[in-house]
């Protein structure tokens, strides 16, 4: 314990002395005035900053903007950082979406695409000491198939029709048809302990095979994890403990980072990043996989968005560059197609298929003869980011002659409208699932679903394109790329989902933190992370 600690936080060792003195003086005055008799005690500020240094050890605080939600453990939710800390997945995609072994050592896709054989690691144990076996994989797949888990990849999991165990660590999955995005499932699906599922869903006990043990979840505060000493990668992880700490208000999250209370976050919005950009003790890293994409949705059953020309006019009218700069704070990629740069479906031509061209939009409107007399309702969730995008869209559409009225809804209401297909003519929202296998977008992301989607759009051409892309085992060959192009062409032509910009996944990390990575579903991996 330091006595009369002037909180010269180790996080800023290079501060000029005058400022340090000033701070110390301020600290003294404040501590004397405010905390009274406690001046001789620890300072919450310096403790939270941690003791840096060695490669092994140390504790990391990750700022999260949404609390861990145990009920959503098997769903892709806004906050999935803990998944790969507590649990493991079967494989791990590399940058080019090539699967790399994790719990699955190797795999063999049958030539007819009707089965896949997985060889599992035999040296893995759960935190409670139980050995990991093929039964755990079977359980994981079956679990995801249940509708109440509401897993986005449920359709992929349902394509698995049977299991055949070959010993404890080899497993054959029978498939209904070739599944292009099977490895998305393996990337997504966490392997949980099947005996403690209920506890896991209540957030009491999360038993996995991951690098960190679950200590405690305190609702509203976050999750505390400590090092798993029996992790199957030897001598890993480096960190002794990890804390996921909730800062639900963006300003609070920003303050936590700036004051050194948290060292890592993926939840800072682009707008809030500006003050951190200048700070030398932070590193900002952009993942071009994106973390979702902003889009304007159109209900094809409602006037005037039932008219394809109108929808295309909307696509031409919006200044995507401005959406990126002003709403995303510059952290994004203007794109008319949903695919981030890392996606095999990404092409530059598709990205700039629609650009900001109000004249063209007006011309299209005119030629289509759609009446723009009445105000078109434009729904959006009431979160600040969505609101800002909606405001930009509204203004740009107005420049093109489409007058709209913003209709904000809180997220639950918005979601209900989204699922039940009762959206107004236009709406603004963000979608995910473009960062993995292109087929996943069309079968798992509801807005794009070929069978039933919010827009109420159905066409044989689209359905065929999607099925063709999905029901095959080739994922990255030239034929596959051609099939992806068919999907993209349909999307761009029909414009029921008008993509605006791919939002960057932005990592804000203290400069001394090294080695933190994310998987494609934003699971944080700290296997090799350490504090310098």
């Amino acid at each position: 314990m330091r006595v009369h600690a002037p909180p010269a936080s180790p996080a800023h060792p290079q501060l000029p002395s005058r400022r340090a003195t000033l701070r110390a003086a301020g600290a003294g005055a404040l501590a004397l005035g405010a905390t009274g008799g406690l001046t001789a005690c620890r300072s919450a500020v310096s403790v939270a900053a941690g003791e840096g240094g060695a490669r092994r050890g140390g504790s990391l605080t990750v700022g999260i903007h949404v609390d861990f939600t145990p009920a959503l453990l098997f769903t892709q939710s806004d906050q999935a950082l803990q998944q790969r800390l507590i649990y493991n997945t079967l494989i791990r995609y590399d940058e080019k979406l090539r699967p790399q072994p994790e719990l699955a050592r190797s795999w063999q896709y049958a030539d007819d695409g009707r089965s896949i054989t997985l060889k599992l690691r035999d040296d893995v144990t759960f935190h409670d000491g139980r050995a990991f076996t093929a039964d755990d994989v079977i359980f994981a797949v079956e679990n995801l198939r249940k509708p109440e888990r509401s897993a986005q990849l449920a359709s992929t999991a349902r394509a698995v029709t049977g299991f055949q165990k070959r010993g404890e660590h080899e497993l054959v999955l029978k498939l209904a048809h070739p599944v292009a995005n099977l490895f998305d499932l393996f990337e997504f699906m966490i392997i949980t302990d099947r005996h403690t599922l209920d506890d896991a869903l209540k957030g009491r006990r999360l038993n996995g095979t991951g690098p960190f043990r679950f200590d405690r979840w305190r609702p509203g505060t976050g999750v505390r994890l400590s090092r798993n000493d029996r992790y199957w990668i030897p001598d890993r992880p480096y960190l002794d403990s990890v804390e996921l700490r909730v800062y639900s208000h963006p300003d609070a999250l920003l303050s936590a980072l700036r004051s050194g209370q948290a060292q890592l976050s993926y939840g800072v919005s682009g707008k809030h990043l500006a003050p951190l950009k200048a700070a030398p003790n932070f590193r900002i890293k952009r993942y071009d996989t994106g973390s979702g994409a902003a889009y304007v949705g159109a209900s094809v059953g409602t006037k005037p968005s039932d008219d394809k020309s109108f929808r295309q006019a909307v696509a031409w009218a919006v200044d995507r560059e401005r959406v990126v700069q002003q709403a995303l704070g510059g952290y994004g990629l203007p794109s008319a197609a949903p695919w981030p740069r890392s996606s095999p479906a990404h092409t530059e031509a598709d990205r700039i298929h629609y650009t900001h061209d109000p004249g063209k939009a007006r011309a299209l409107l005119k030629s289509s003869g759609v009446s723009t007399r009445t105000r078109v309702p434009l729904g959006h969730p009431s979160q600040p980011l969505h609101t800002a995008i909606a405001e930009i869209v509204q203004y740009d559409l107005e420049q093109a002659g489409i007058r709209t009225e913003l209709q904000p809804h809180d997220s639950a209401t918005f979601q209900k409208k989204l699922i039940s297909g009762t959206m107004p003519a236009l709406w603004v929202n963000l979608h995910g699932f473009a960062q993995v296998h292109p087929a996943t977008l069309a079968v798992s992301a509801y807005p794009f679903n070929e069978a039933k989607n919010t827009s109420g759009f159905r066409s044989k051409a689209y359905t065929d394109a999607v099925r063709a892309a999905w029901q095959q085992r080739d994922a990255d060959g030239p034929a596959a790329h051609a099939r992806y192009q068919r999907v993209s062409d349909q999307l761009l032509e029909e414009a029921f989902i008008i993509d605006l910009a791919i939002q960057d996944q932005v990592e804000v990390a203290a400069a001394r933190l090294r080695g933190a990575t994310l998987n494609k579903f934003s699971y944080l991996s700290l296997d090799h992370a350490y504090l310098a």
Partner: protein
């Protein structure tokens, strides 16, 4: 009649004969308050004349500092003119508040009068007040907005709801005291009917604390609007309000402090002016 005093009643000189509210408004304190509130209100009313840009027009140049490109106060993160947004924001706030607070006050008073009619009604009304008071205001705001959808209406409803028990309780307490006063008994004995007694005799005598409360409530309403905007459940975008301008500006506090300065200053001045007014009224009516 030998000893009548038909003339020269001991009229006190000068100010004594004036209405206490008028007297209050001539104090320095109140004058400053009036000037502050008046200036803000005027700015809001004259918004269309004072601003050169539409409050929702996006120039494409985001976050330019004050004075550049014809933007006297600069632009916000979507390139909208801050001065126009500020002025129209005042307007929105005034419209919301000027509607909500009086409605709340009137309803509160109506309930209090109702409570004065019969003991059973009194109990009912009191419990209802307790109930509204017991609900934490901002959680109520979240719930009401969830039901009604964002917009002006929930803001008005929330402010109104919050004010009803405040005024209601105050008036009820006042009525309880006043109706035992001799003048009320005298009016009753003189044959004045109950409704008239309540409204014409007792109500005016309970008015002083209510007038003071009105000024206080207006400041509370400004805050409530701001807090709701801060929690993202305020007036619908892109319509500007003081509250949403402020909460919109908070992320840029260190990067573009001028963004927040305008609304903050206006809110502070408005609240300052209203508190000065309420204090002046309070002092004068307590004499």
């Amino acid at each position: 009649m030998t000893s009548t005093v038909s003339s020269a009643p001991a009229v006190r000189r000068g100010t004594a004969a004036r209405h206490p509210y008028l007297a209050a408004l001539t104090t320095t304190r109140a004058r400053i308050g009036l000037v502050l509130v008046g200036a803000v209100v005027l700015a809001g009313l004259l918004a269309p004349l004072l601003s050169s840009h539409a409050p929702t027009a996006q120039s494409g140049r985001a976050l330019v500092p004050p004075g550049t490109g014809g933007h006297l106060l600069g632009t916000d993160d979507l390139g909208r003119d801050l001065l126009s947004r500020l002025l129209y924001g005042i307007r929105t706030d005034l419209e919301v508040i000027a509607l909500a607070v009086p409605i709340g006050a009137l309803l509160g008073c109506a309930f209090a009068l109702l409570a004065a009619v019969h003991p059973v009604l009194d109990t009912v009304v009191q419990r209802a007040f307790d109930l509204v008071l017991a609900f934490p205001g901002l959680i109520l705001a979240l719930a009401v907005t969830a039901i009604l959808g964002p917009g002006r209406l929930p803001v008005i409803v929330v402010i109104t709801l919050a004010e009803i028990p405040v005024f209601g309780r105050q008036l009820r307490a006042g009525i309880l005291v006043q109706r035992e006063r001799d003048y009320a008994v005298a009016a009753r004995v003189g044959g004045t009917r109950r409704a008239r007694l309540l409204i014409r005799h007792i109500l005016p005598n309970c008015a002083d604390p209510l007038v003071v409360q009105l000024a206080v409530s207006l400041t509370v309403a400004v805050f409530l609007e701001g807090a709701m905007s801060f929690l993202g459940v305020g007036v619908r975008p892109p319509e500007p309000t003081l509250g949403n301008s402020l909460s919109q500006a908070l992320p840029y506090l260190s990067q573009a402090p001028y963004f927040a300065a305008g609304p903050l200053l206006i809110v502070t001045l408005l609240v300052l002016g209203l508190s000065l007014l309420s204090e002046a009224l309070n002092r004068e009516t307590r004499r």
